[in-house]
């Protein structure tokens, strides 16, 4: 299986994007938690959980990438290099994929207003199995993430048409970009696709930060 998709010049920049996205995710998560503490609206507790999982996912991913890149760029025999890179990659990537899918699943559960515990546990089980299967096929993970995000995007689109304002538009566009990034990651034929996917994903998270700033400045 193909492991490193980044062009050499982009190695490290993607990790910076991931760390920044993690910071944004935790800011949004904390604000959701603050709302939960004041209003006791359970949905915002789950929103906090979703963004906390995305925070940890991005942190794990960025460190996995950095570790894999440093091994890749080291001057060691190619066979040793492949074995070491694969070991680092598989350890980190499984955690990343599991946390990301759980984060997006939580968002999809909120968007679809799924309340049944049995349905939720079934979905969680599917996510755990899917993240194991995703280790075999790289694009499978992004396909599942894209499917989950499509429901999230639809929810934010409906919310935006119902309560049109700068904030709802920002959230809708941000998730649309994150969804598109996942679609691009499915069809990675060239390193440029990876760069484009990373840039779109980061822009998506950046718009979430813009929404938070707009809320704070109001």
């Amino acid at each position: 299986m193909h492991i490193i998709f980044s062009p050499i010049w982009f190695m490290g920049i993607d990790s910076i994007f991931e760390i920044l996205s993690a910071i944004i995710a935790i800011f949004v998560g904390f604000y959701a938690f603050k709302i939960y503490r004041s209003t006791r609206k359970k949905d915002f507790f789950y929103l906090f959980i979703a963004f906390a999982m995305l925070f940890f996912a991005f942190i794990v991913r960025s460190f996995t990438d950095l570790a894999a890149y440093s091994l890749f760029l080291e001057s060691i025999p190619i066979i040793t290099k492949i074995v070491q890179v694969q070991y680092v990659y598989y350890t980190g990537i499984y955690t990343y994929q599991l946390l990301t899918l759980l984060g997006y699943l939580t968002l999809a559960i909120l968007a679809l207003k799924i309340r049944g515990r049995r349905v939720i546990s079934l979905l969680v089980m599917f996510v755990i199995i899917s993240s194991v299967m995703s280790l075999v096929s790289y694009s499978a993970f992004h396909m599942i993430a894209a499917v989950m995000l499509s429901y999230v995007v639809l929810h934010f689109y409906e919310n935006c048409s119902r309560k049109f304002c700068k904030n709802s538009l920002l959230v809708f566009v941000s998730f649309l970009l994150i969804f598109l990034s996942q679609v691009i990651f499915i069809f990675i034929f060239h390193t440029w696709f990876y760069v484009l996917g990373q840039v779109l994903q980061f822009l998506g998270y950046f718009l979430l930060l813009a929404n938070l700033i707009l809320v704070y400045r109001s």
């Binding site: 959701a32 603050k34 209003t39 006791r40 609206k41 919310n159 119902r162 904030n167 809320v215 109001s218």
Partner: protein
């Protein structure tokens, strides 16, 4: 859970009514403008007084009036920010 959610919104409505008329409101006017019962007003106004978000004063006719304080205004602003965030996610 629902009880606390309602409470935050009731407090917001009460403070909004007091913010709209900063000369102060009589208890009966506050009941009417924030659409709550007398029992609920008593319960929540005590809490707002305790937290320093509302202060008690005397009106022109010598009757009791409630006025919003700076702390109350800060709460209102924060709650409005939270509402904006909640609306942006549509949850």
């Amino acid at each position: 859970m629902t009880k606390r959610r309602e409470k935050a919104e009731v407090l917001y409505d009460m403070l909004s009514a007091l913010w709209a008329d900063r000369r102060g409101l009589k208890p009966t006017h506050l009941i009417y403008k924030s659409n709550i019962s007398h029992v609920r007003l008593k319960k929540h106004i005590d809490e707002l007084l305790e937290n320093g978000m509302v202060k008690e004063g005397t009106g022109e006719g010598g009757h009791t009036v409630y006025k919003i304080t700076e702390k109350g205004i800060d709460f209102l602003k924060e709650f409005e920010r939270m509402r904006k965030f909640m609306d942006s996610f549509g949850l």
